[in-house]
Symmetry: C2
DNA sequence: GACGATCCAATACGTTTGTACTGCTATCTT
DNA sequence: AAGATAGCAGTACAAACGTATTGGATCGTC
């Protein structure tokens, strides 16, 4: 039968994949387990995604698209958007931890799966570009030479956020400790604080 | 038979595990594949490590101990040591990429393996503590208030290095681009450059 | 020189896995 | 009305998996 809504099936399947990855890693993703969680048959999954690899990759692009969609919903204010990019991944809520776990599972997979690697690289690069735009739009800090390098600042901030995310994920830093670092850095940017050589 | 050197066996096994992880991820680690690569029998691996989980964890602690040992060999100069901590993980050499791949595989595993999580968290925390000591020993930058927070600086630097490592690993940043960011940050520290509020 | 302990090799077993294949139903096309 | 097609469910199978088990070779100890 052509069910009422095949898209609902697909979403349910992808959701099940996410849950399994977040809970058991990518190794935990098997056709039968996904089928059980998503309330579909193994054949159903095969029909939509064919192979296991394809299924895992589809769940990856779905995650990226979801994150992108969420970002688009944000109000068009540079500093707020920048804050979201830097802070949304810090896993101090169950939802954020869910996302971060999956993200890092794919990150590890990217070393032996070039396709996934390309996906992640493209999104990261895109995120950096967006950050550069946001920083430039946020307006240059009043009269200083140190900040003409928006790209450098974006790169630094992004890396900082990623590094802190890792530490919170692993559990040796609290979410608020990580936020503290990032927010102080953001304040500095907003207040036009800059780097100058010491005496 | 009590072979000439059982330790050589163990090292060979752990080495094989590393190679498999770096190439296929932790999923790729199976008794038979390890046995083949390490030139031992499946029974041999079982004898030394018992279960697969134990084997994977043993390879994790071995990696950490190796890294620690390498660090200890370094000359006792704060800034050089700090540079090593921050730069050694940037995967721009095959050796460094090897290590980073394995590290991130365990990182992903830490979300569903509390034991591995604890291991990684402890080492990261230890590394931060060591960085704090190094920064303090490097001498406080001349007469400024902004830098009395060695812990904050250490945390920032470390997160920065981790975030950049990820991006190089995934391939959207070159090793030299990452080094550039880190080295400029290190220079700032060495030259006693500090953060002051803007006008 | 018996004897336990250590270090492995070989094999066997039951389970889980990805995937191919078959069949059925409801919709769309013509 | 007829056929093609999309959307599943169910089953079957070979391969690969972790691990238990058995057996043998070598060493240290008494």
């Amino acid at each position: 039968m052509v069910t009422p809504d095949p898209d609902a099936s697909r979403r349910s399947i992808i959701g099940a994949v996410w849950e399994l990855i977040a809970h058991d890693g990518i190794e935990g993703v098997t056709f039968r387990r996904v089928a059980e969680r998503a309330q579909v048959s193994v054949g159903g999954i095969q029909h939509h995604y064919g192979t296991r690899e394809a299924l895992v990759r589809a769940a990856c692009v779905a995650m990226i698209e979801d994150a992108h969609g969420e970002y688009e919903e944000l109000p068009d204010e540079p500093l707020a958007r920048l804050g979201h990019i830097l802070l949304h991944a810090i896993p101090d809520s169950p939802r954020a931890r869910f996302g971060a776990s999956i993200w890092h599972a794919y990150l590890a997979k990217s070393v032996d799966d070039a396709e996934v690697g390309r996906l992640l690289a493209d999104t990261k690069r895109g995120t950096e570009d967006e950050c550069v735009r946001l920083i430039e739009r946020a307006g240059p800090p009043p009269s200083t030479s140190g900040s003409l390098d928006a790209r450098g600042t974006a790169r630094r901030l992004l890396a900082l956020a990623d590094g802190l995310t890792v530490r919170v994920l692993v559990g040796d830093l609290s979410g608020s400790e990580a936020r503290e670092v990032l927010e102080s850095e953001l304040d500095r940017l907003g207040a036009g604080t800059v780097l100058v050589p010491g005496p």
